[in-house]
Amino acid sequence: MSTKSNPVTEALAVAGGRKPIEATAQPDAHAASVKRIVPPGRFWTLNLKELAGYRELLYFLVWREIKVRYKQTVIGAGWAVIQPVATMLVFTLFFGRLARIPSGGLPYPLFFYSALLPWTYFAGALSGATNSVVENQRVITKVYFPRLLLPLSAVFSGLVDFVIAFVLLAGMALYYRVTPGPWLIFLPVFLLLAMFTAFGAGLWLAALNALYRDVRYVVPFLIQFWLFASPVAYPSTLVPERWRALYGLNPMAGVIDGFRWAVSGENPPSPGLVAASAGAVIVMLVAGLWYFRRVEATVADVV
């Protein structure tokens, strides 16, 4: 490190003031990283290198979220299971026993639970991501770190609950004597699809919520609407053939169908539907990243 005894050779032009001292600066000989701060430009960049540098913070954000959630709770991890199980029971009774929707050969509880599992994860990750920026407003106005980590951490912290609830799913599959097959390999793929969907939509909502605070109230309604637009309470075969691809533009349709299939082996989802879902996710993710980065530039001023 250079000592203070080096002669100062810097310019200090004072706007309308007293001491104009002209001097020139030497070209940089140090290898230290230089950060250039300029007004937000037209094109956004995704600084992956920077994000990778902050990966430890991502871990800490997720860890903090989980610790706080489970501290001082009595039921603790049980919460992860109660919601999908309760919904599953209600659906089994009303959509299954009473309405008798076609379940493609699967026992109703399994039919609903295998859909509710990824759905619950998605809904939780989406609401978490939406609120992530606003909830951390104090931090983002005081310290710099890539804001992208906030919705991203919500997407990851939901996985813990997912894993816990998945154990129950495995138990159910065993109970109903569903033998696992090669299709099980696709389970992580569909889970990944769900994560990308939550992240893409979460980016949009997080940015919008930081700017306009009433967005937060729209989200529960949005999720509810999305629930019924997804094949959770009914199979996607209910949708007529020619509309199936359009229906697939809802990424969760691909996720749910795929998930059910990966668990049970029955009713493989139509490729058109899955392709549409994957395509929709990519578009949503790219657009979400663009919008979020745009808002990120000035979020500290308005949040």
Partner: protein, 421 residues
């Protein structure tokens, strides 16, 4: 040759008034958008909001290893400048270049969560400031020792007192090892003991060759720690030069704004006060030996300081303290009122006057600044504190202590008994 660690060129930051509104609802935005084509263009932008430039045309450069102090009234743009340099917000025009890892101390307790334990908050806070886990592990003991809360590390933060939280927060932040450190008046919090500790740490950091940008109202600290100073006024650089020059220029103008007459310091409207505010200092008067308020006294002349204060909340154990600092920030003399007067329980709504007669006057000729405060005797917490309430001068005069009094090196010139044997 020195390399510029920080270079700022034409930096400007514009805020839309109303950006920080509590609640911007989407429906309002949509309604405005619908109405926009029908609204005539006014002097403000299309949204009907005025703009304010928090910073405009700011240029300066800081060489590596320099410590630069930034002074200015509240609202001058100092915090905005730091925020831009930390990357928290982007400028509206101009550019800035920062060389090296940046650490910013804009607030203590960033990222603290009351449910987590001290240790957990520790790690999280360090991580969010950019420290790697290994680094935190390595420095854990050092940080814990500095903070003084080692025994409580495994209790949730919500059980900590404010003082303990502050100490923990500052310890984590202070042990960053960035190449460029940006500090914004964090040292304004906590009790005097803690503030001293923080200042000490800051000095240590600056001696380590880091580049430091220090925003503060504590003129004494700036004089002591910084080599250069920049005075920001209403978003523009008004003065730059050595730290001492800058502080002098600033205090001369701030005083001019604050003083109502020679030797009278009106503190009511002053913004640079720290503390809980249960008691508010209203006025400080400097009286010479003839009880006349003057901005200067003679060498050897006893003088009196009068404190007027008002109590807004019940304060059972407050005391008034005074420290006289030299021109370069050294604490020369200090006294607390309970040394010779009784402690009184202050009732809300009451007004009091306390006077302190400095007799004999042992200060050598020169310029001194007055740090005054009301503190709580039990917790040593600041209730109302001014790091520099005002300045005064001790003139050489023609008294019996000799003509060359101002040439003597020491600040305090007591009268000792010298005897020929």
């Amino acid at each position: 040759m020195a390399v510029a660690a920080i270079r700022v060129e034409g930096l400007g930051k514009r805020y839309r008034l109303g950006d920080r509104e509590r609640y911007i609802a989407l429906r309002d935005v949509l309604a405005r958008a619908v109405k926009a084509p029908f609204r005539r263009r006014s002097g403000t932008n299309g949204n009907g909001q005025a703009h304010i430039w928090a910073l405009r045309g700011v240029n300066f450069a800081v060489a590596e290893g320099e410590t630069i102090g930034i002074v200015g009234r509240n609202g001058a743009g100092k915090s905005t400048l730091l925020k831009i340099l930390s990357g928290i917000t982007l400028p509206s025009e101009g550019s800035a270049e920062v060389r090296g890892r940046v650490g910013s101390l804009l607030e203590v307790g960033t990222g603290f969560h009351p449910e987590l334990t001290g240790r957990e908050n520790f790690y999280f806070s360090g991580s969010i400031r950019g420290m790697k886990r290994r680094e935190i592990d390595r420095k854990f003991d050092e940080i814990a020792a500095f903070s003084g809360v080692e025994t409580f590390l495994d209790t949730p933060l919500k059980h900590y007192s404010t003082g303990m939280q502050l100490r923990l927060a500052f310890s984590v932040a202070a042990h960053l090892e960035p190449e460029v450190l940006l500090v914004d008046e964090v040292l304004a919090v906590g009790d005097l003991e803690f503030q001293k500790k923080c200042l000490g740490k800051m000095e240590e950091v600056t001696r380590g060759g880091r580049t430091v940008l220090f925003v503060s109202h504590n003129m004494g600290a700036i004089r002591r720690i910084c080599t250069r100073g920049v005075w920001l006024d209403a978003g523009a650089v008004r003065w730059s030069g050595t730290a001492a020059e800058c502080v002098d220029a600033y205090t001369a103008s701030a005083e001019a704004a604050a003083e109502t007459g020679g030797g009278i310091f009106d503190l009511r409207a002053r913004k640079d006060r720290y503390g809980t505010g249960a008691v508010m200092l209203r006025e400080l008067r400097l009286l010479n030996s003839e009880m006349q308020s003057r901005p200067s006294v003679e060498f050897g002349e006893p003088f009196t300081l009068v404190f007027d204060f008002e109590c807004s909340r019940s304060s059972p154990s407050c005391f008034v303290g005074l420290t006289i600092l030299s021109a370069d920030g050294a604490s020369v003399l200090g006294s607390h009122h309970y040394d010779t007067a009784e402690m009184r329980a202050l009732l809300p709504g009451s007004r009091h006057t306390l006077s302190c007669r400095v007799d004999p006057n042992l200060l050598k000729p020169g310029r001194y600044s007055l740090q005054i405060g009301v503190l709580d005797y039990a917790t040593w917490e600041c209730v109302d504190l001014f790091h520099s309430a005002g300045d005064f001068t001790v003139e050489a005069g023609s008294g019996r202590f000799g003509r060359l009094a101002d040439a003597r090196p020491a600040y305090v010139q007591p009268v000792f008994e010298w005897k020929w044997n």
